[in-house]
């Protein structure tokens, strides 16, 4: 396993805790004690794919946002090596009145690309999304399938060394779903580092090197994919 051979983790979580809730609300005596994450620890090593499994409301999405740096842990620490980490976020910042091409640039910039890179990606995005002439039409006129195609293509070509994926393996209409799933799987199997959140056992069995099982905001079990998934399925 990759993780076992590499001594230095890229990302390291230690007793991470986080809760949404109004900071000032306690003043009025109705403090929201909704705790999303209580105590999570695990490491992510270069090149591996770590699967995160857990039921609804276990805090999986929040966990990805913490790893990405969008949110900051209230408790514990997250250390990151000097690599670019980003969520595979679809349709970030897209505006309905802009064309597909313009949204692709805007999305690329927001996902951390330089303007040159974002423009360079246009040809790849145009080809992969198969939007053809629609790429120059306003995004607001797209069908939901077309929106998904563009959103996925932009995120896919803007993805960084470390990719955080939240359930979205394939999106869009049937053909594109197959194509995008294949693209993501290829990305996962190459030596890209991936943290993949899912409640789909089959997906994780196929892709993850290691699985972390999150339950009620804490690390419940962590280890070999087959072992953890077996225990999870039995629960």
């Amino acid at each position: 396993m990759v993780g076992a051979n590499s001594p230095k983790p890229l990302i390291s979580l230690r007793h991470v805790g986080f809760s949404y809730g109004k900071p000032g609300a306690s003043f009025w005596g109705r403090r929201a004690e909704h705790s999303a994450i209580r105590d999570i620890s695990f490491d992510v090593y270069p090149g591996e794919t770590v699967g995160i499994i857990g039921g609804n409301g276990a805090g999986k999405t929040t966990l990805l946002k913490l790893i990405a740096g969008v949110l900051k842990p209230a408790l514990g620490t997250i250390t990151r090596a000097d690599v670019r980490i980003s969520m595979l976020s679809l349709q970030v910042g897209f505006l309905p009145h802009l064309t597909g091409r313009e949204n692709a640039i805007l999305g690329g910039l927001l996902l951390g690309l330089s303007k040159e890179q974002a423009k360079k990606n246009l040809a790849l995005i145009e080809e992969f999304s198969e939007l053809q002439a629609f790429i120059d039409e306003p995004f607001g006129t797209y069908s939901s399938g077309m929106k998904a195609r563009l959103g996925f293509s932009v995120a896919y070509f803007a993805s960084n060394e470390v990719v955080l994926i939240d359930e979205v393996l394939g999106v869009g209409d049937r053909d594109f779903r197959i194509k995008s799933t294949a693209a993501i799987k290829e990305m996962i199997t190459t030596n890209r580092t991936v943290v993949l959140v899912s409640h789909n056992v089959a997906t994780l069995r196929e892709t993850a090197n290691r699985v972390v099982w999150i339950s009620e905001g804490a690390t419940h079990m962590e280890g070999d994919t087959a072992d953890i998934l077996e225990a999870y399925a039995a629960s």
Partner: protein, 254 residues
């Protein structure tokens, strides 16, 4: 993100928002000219035709004040909602938060530059002779920009976290408009009131612009230094707060 990337993002977002905004209407970019022409026409009609003639050059006096106020007010109130309007972005990608008020400021300032052009055109049409002194408007608007950007940063940092302040801001802006001598000349007030009102940077900005354009006088160094200093303090304070609260905006439930 490197500063070059951030600047790329800011400029493209300015372009994207302006285009998206203009595409919402049939006349599009023409509204940049039509809208100020309309409000100038309204002020001209009300104060120049209905009430007019008793005060000399009241319409140009008013228009200089109104256009500058329009810029300051719209930049600040757009910045107040800049971060919450970009919630979908903030909750998914790591991006320095000052990007959003900066975009709002640049957007409003570009529109304002068109209005300044129209205003100068109107003044010439009205009978004022342009002189080299009109270039004095550049440092005045430069100092004013520092103040507006600083206010925008501060407002954008605080209001998403304490939305209640938006109500105070709206009323505060209205109060500021009346205390900035938009509709009257501060110089006509008693000395102690003049001194008090000139603590308000907007009043100073408006007065300096009027001196340059209508009286062929100024701009005065100390007044501009005062506006710049206040602007710099606000800018540093706002930028510090935006950095300090950086992770709070994605967390806030609204």
């Amino acid at each position: 993100m490197t500063s070059q990337r951030i600047w790329g993002l800011i400029t493209f977002k300015v372009y994207a928002e302006l285009k998206a905004e203009s595409n919402r209407t049939y006349a599009g970019y023409l509204w940049w000219v039509f809208e100020p022409l309309l409000f100038m026409a309204v002020y001209y009609f009300v104060f120049g035709v209905l009430f007019g003639r008793n005060t000399e050059d009241f319409v140009p006096f008013l228009l200089v004040g109104v256009t500058i106020w329009h810029w300051i007010q719209s930049s600040i109130s757009h910045s107040a909602s800049a971060i919450s309007q970009n919630r979908p972005i903030i909750s998914q990608v790591v991006v320095p938060k000052y990007v959003f008020p900066t975009v709002a400021f640049i957007n409003n300032s570009l529109k304002f530059l068109v209005i300044v052009g129209l205003l100068l055109f109107f003044l010439v049409f009205y009978g004022f002779v342009p002189t080299e002194r009109w270039f004095g408007l550049v440092p005045v608007l430069g100092a004013a920009s520092l103040f507006v950007l600083g206010s925008s940063f501060l407002v954008s940092a605080v209001i998403p976290l304490v939305p209640d302040l938006k109500i105070l801001l709206d009323n505060g802006l209205r109060a500021m408009m009346f205390m900035s001598g938009i509709f009257f000349d501060i110089a006509n007030l008693g000395q102690q009131w003049q001194d008090l009102l000139r603590l308000n940077p907007v009043a100073v900005i408006v007065e300096q612009a009027r001196l340059i354009l209508l009286r062929n006088e100024g701009p005065y160094f100390y007044d501009l230094a005062y506006v710049s200093a206040v602007g710099l303090v606000l800018l540093i304070l706002g930028a510090t707060l935006l950095k300090l609260f950086d992770h709070q905006y994605a967390k806030a439930p609204w």
